[in-house]
Symmetry: C2
Subunit: 316 residues, 2 copies
């Protein structure tokens, strides 16, 4: 037998990431697949199976398979109750499906939980017993590390921090409710804020782009315009940051946890939102608490989810 | 030596409660002192000392002293950083002061944490490994039981749930920030909502009372008017309940904890706010989560804090 490896899988909104991970965290092989087509359960399961077959060779001693995916995941039962990116996945028995193909330990969990565990193992959360992991992407993911372990709550649903209420009579969120944090401080929220902006300045390259194609605008573009010095694009990130800061203040006030790690695609715009985030955070927490809180940036970047999913297996 | 007892003390906004508690939770003796006068550290310490001397007799084998009080309490250091009801208590070294008088183990903690532990020991949280304790009084207190223990966060400050943000641009809270839950769903919030109410109906006994003395109105009076069928008083509790429901939804979404216990003086009005609370809560949580959550009423009522403070000592 060869080296002991765990398979870590991170199912995102647009990309599926796969990695063969050694016990020391070294990623032996990895692969990223853009998922444009079939999002049915069978389609996704088939893709996972074929990708893993490509990754694994006879020299690998595979000890298990960890999978992180967005949504409400019941880790014990291996069921996805609901997932924002996989329409029609209701009470999906993903674990049972995968067991038909793999005779090894398999663990499913929410993707932000896996990211949190990855950062705890090898990243910005190394040596930190308690922290909140925040992933800023299409939506907002959250994972709690408490006493050096993922905290799942009673049935595995902890960390739906995108749906804390930040504005009682606020805008509609994709979840059907009003004023959720995700309706402001996510890619979806960013786009929504731009559409709803009341006093858009008249002249700028960014505004011209918005006027011609607001539907297709992406956070990366808003970031690029801000980087090029566009003042309105900068204001958008500032507002995004303020809402994020208020949301993080709520969570720190509630839980007394003093480390927050922020990851996800939108951290690219870190320099544009972090100061407004900190300003609002400090305003909305007691001084005695605020002065000890560290808001850190992901260290593992895109690998955090795959590493965390593998770590779940090594910790079994 | 006689029976083993712990002294449990619950320092509230208007009353200090003292109890001699046996290991099985039986309260041998108790005393309640209304604290109208001196709130200096020395004054409060002197009162605690004299009350405990009255309670304890030679036949008692006192194993320790537990004290719960509102505010930001550093349990390890025994320091109160700040307390809403004790102006001028900044970085107050309460533990060191008490040690001058008592040669026994002494534990200080936030009052809502003590209440949570009391309910976990003998009340509505018996046998429940994870729950959130909410105390509705002048302000809102919060205590988390996680894995059958008080969860303190990193330095003991977990549970400031009165200061989660529920309305980004909302009304001012006593803490200096805007839109905190406490500015709506507490005695302070109730009074503030009544003052700010926009379309007060013209005729009712409650409205007459408000017109003559709005400053002196108490939650108990609002409760009594609602009990007597006053429609406006009922509407006030309904709004109170809706905000509470949104706040609890935020906390359940964030933590995935499926039991909430509500205590504190305002639970007297339970029948008037609980339906709006549940309605708003259900609206703002995923169905899969909401259907499993139990929102329960305190079982230990006014004794919860004293019992929890004693339990801390028995668990040392």
């Amino acid at each position: 037998m060869g080296k002991k490896v765990a398979i870590g899988v991170d199912l995102g909104g647009t990309n599926f990431k796969f990695g063969l991970v050694e016990e020391d965290g070294n990623i032996l092989k990895k692969d990223v697949v853009e998922v444009a087509g079939d999002r049915s359960i069978n389609g996704v399961i088939a893709l996972i199976v074929s990708e893993i077959k490509k990754l694994v060779a006879s020299e690998h001693d595979v000890v298990g398979l960890g999978i992180g995916m967005p949504g409400i995941v019941d880790r014990k039962k291996g069921i996805i109750y609901k997932s924002p990116n996989y329409f029609g996945w209701v009470d999906a028995p993903v674990l049972d499906e995968l067991k038909k193909y793999f005779k090894m330990p398999i663990v499913l969990d929410n993707d932000a939980n896996m990211v949190a565990l990855g950062e705890h193992w090898l990243g910005a959360g190394k040596g930190v017993s308690n922290f909140l992991m925040v992933t800023l992407g299409t939506g907002i993911g959250g994972g709690w590390i408490i006493n050096d372990k993922i905290f799942h709550g009673d049935r595995g649903f902890a960390g739906e921090i995108g749906h804390i209420i930040i504005d009682f009579n606020g805008v509609m969120c994709n979840c059907g409710n009003r004023g959720c944090l995700e309706a402001y401080a996510s890619a979806t929220g960013l786009k929504r804020m731009i559409k709803d902006w009341e006093d858009v300045p008249e002249k700028s390259a960014f505004v011209s782009k918005l006027n011609s194609s607001i539907e297709s605008i992406s956070p990366i573009e808003v970031f690029k315009f801000a980087s090029d010095g566009d003042i309105f694009a900068g204001q958008v990130w500032k507002k995004f940051g303020a809402y994020l800061g208020a949301g993080l203040a709520s969570l720190v006030n509630a839980m007394g946890i003093e480390t927050i790690i922020i990851g996800g695609g939108l951290t690219k715009a870190w320099d544009f939102f972090i100061d407004p985030t900190l300003k609002e955070f400090n305003k909305r927490t007691y001084k005695e608490i605020a002065e000890k809180v560290r808001i850190k940036r992901t260290e593992l970047l895109d690998d955090a989810g795959v590493l965390g999913a593998a770590k779940v297996i090594f910790s079994c």
